[in-house]
Symmetry: C2
Subunit: 426 residues, 2 copies
Amino acid sequence: MSLIVSKFGGSSVSDAASINRVADRIVAMKTQGHDVVVVVSAMGDTTDELIDLAEQVVGSSEPPQREMDILLTAGERISMALLAMAIDSRGVPAQAFTGQQAGLITDASHGNARIIDVTPGRITECLGTGSVAIVAGFQGVNPDANDVTTLGRGGSDTTAVALAAGLGADVCEIYTDVDGVFTADPRIVPTARRIERITSDEMLEMAAHGAKILHLRSVEYARRFGVEIHVRSSFSMKEGTHVITPSEEEEGEMEAPIISGVAHDRSQAKVTCVGVPDVPGAAARLFETVAGAGVNIDMIVQNVSVAATGKTDISFTLPASDVALVRAALSLLADELGYDDVLYQDDIGKLSLVGAGMRSHPGVSAKLFGSLRDAGVNIEMISTSEIRISVVTAADQLDTAVRAVHTAFGLDAAEVEAVVYGGSGR
Amino acid sequence: MSLIVSKFGGSSVSDAASINRVADRIVAMKTQGHDVVVVVSAMGDTTDELIDLAEQVVGSSEPPQREMDILLTAGERISMALLAMAIDSRGVPAQAFTGQQAGLITDASHGNARIIDVTPGRITECLGTGSVAIVAGFQGVNPDANDVTTLGRGGSDTTAVALAAGLGADVCEIYTDVDGVFTADPRIVPTARRIERITSDEMLEMAAHGAKILHLRSVEYARRFGVEIHVRSSFSMKEGTHVITPSEEEEGEMEAPIISGVAHDRSQAKVTCVGVPDVPGAAARLFETVAGAGVNIDMIVQNVSVAATGKTDISFTLPASDVALVRAALSLLADELGYDDVLYQDDIGKLSLVGAGMRSHPGVSAKLFGSLRDAGVNIEMISTSEIRISVVTAADQLDTAVRAVHTAFGLDAAEVEAVVYGGSGR
């Protein structure tokens, strides 16, 4: 008998029929003798519909974040109550709990709160009576004000992992609409393989660089507390991908594959400051300004200064949605820094090769660059971490690049196995 | 400067446009210098849609009441957050509060909880900062379990009155889709007049006997705590109807009109037990059985026993929706009581004439019966209280009866003033 925390996203509970399908699945787990805690997102597009209503009401004003959180958390109240009813109607007792009732204590950052403690006394009590506990994802409580908070995008994954950690669960299952984490996006690489096991370090790199299946914060949380995540499909009983956090000792013993997968990201843009005077502190001033605008930059490249002019070009990438912020910030800096021009480019793509094994295998970069050259793909920027190499290409070359690299590193499956169902919940 | 509690029902906040209209109205009150607490119901048909979802999920099973309350209270979370945002976007600070946060403490009767205490500390605090407080209607908290509860039909009216009592508000405004309480339903009697002032005793009789504008429990609460209710239209700035609870002394001084209004009710059915043996205890046994089935009966008539047979007929009225319950209960009693037959009749109507002044004016019944006779309406049953006379007629004679009585007691207005907008919120 295990204690299982299972999270179902919005696409798994989009209507009464799918809620009943999830209920059947949970009843089956319970029948096998497991204790089950279910974390559930809002039904289908509920959250987007509520955001739309708020926009209709406030017009161009910014809605107050505290009230926005009250509004959005209504979605999970609906889905959690319905799922508890569905399970109960099958003769298995079930109780629904808000984030507050489940003990998800957060800070006061409405809209993007951090979990600071988990006190799941009521959940333990509920399980003790033989009931299934249904918990609203995405929400917690700021105990100082006794107000509901939300955890931001991907928040339900984080709720599930935090509860699994707080309850000492054996596994945290994240149900989604694909069979697990793949070596590449099967929509681009039909021969992509499902990854059976991946370390949380690798999963973090994959998530940070475009793999959308798990939200970054939930993986960080799982890594910190040693929670095993099992990413799997709500449409089949197949094994999915286990995301594990080996101890240092275990890590030494593991025969890690050199490469785990190829992530890609189309959401970045590139900014180039042309002709920046090559004087000490110029780059620092530039990036202070960008950071001051609240923008997270990803990759940075600075050309070698051309001796004759004493000027250099500095390029960096950032989320395309933040370009307007950077544009405003840099326009204030033009006189002070005295650069010649700023170029904005959003038709770029980023490919990231991730694998813990590349730590001990030289030659991975050479093979990557060679495969791209053979495929006729031009590399615009490069950045690396200990277990990742990323390159920026033109957007229209990204698919070609992903397929070429996937093949070059021997990741292709003998036959196509992936079935892709579409978008995923939060 | 006054402290005003204003309640807006579902039809007043059915979409973004109507929420913005309510926001304008509240901002105007605030601009006039009043402190304002707003109680709001779920948007339009939200509650019915949520009930429908629950039915889809549980099929023929009975959904657990605790989870049903979690589900239904999502509706008020949405409307209260949106209304707070709308007011805030007009430059007037506003904060939304759940029933729990507003201190509406109830018992544990999920689906039909009673308010046992009101501790509105957060609301007072909010008003102290110059903000408008928006409170979710219809919901409270059972503090023993820390679970949300709902107050049943008409619950938002009760929330508003309870908050007005707890805060010592100057008035509790109930906004609705008609101009106030009328001397009769203007859909039946186009010349019905708006009542300017009515005592809570009279309003209770009107509400208990078919006038749907205020829920019975909210009037009971207002009467007990001396809260003045102002029923008025959310579509105009006209004065509505003031429901007041005069002290005994004031009551003595008041020049009460003999008759306040004519209520009617089509939702009742009549049950007749034919040939009940006229022995001591037979009626008691009969009504014990009906009460045991959880049915509230209204009027009772027992014929004079026919000496030759030693048998009598007993008729009573009850909500038509409870007929199935009574039918089941009586079928178990047939052998024991030995009556000849039971007749069920749901094509009846009830007319009630209400007025505190009839206490001191003899002849009201005679005038009532005379006007019905002149209109050709047959009276099937009669019941009276100190300030009310009710008669049961055939359903198809009810409208004729209401019009005849309204005219006979001089209630007709010189010209038609009422505008009727349709259904009302909960």
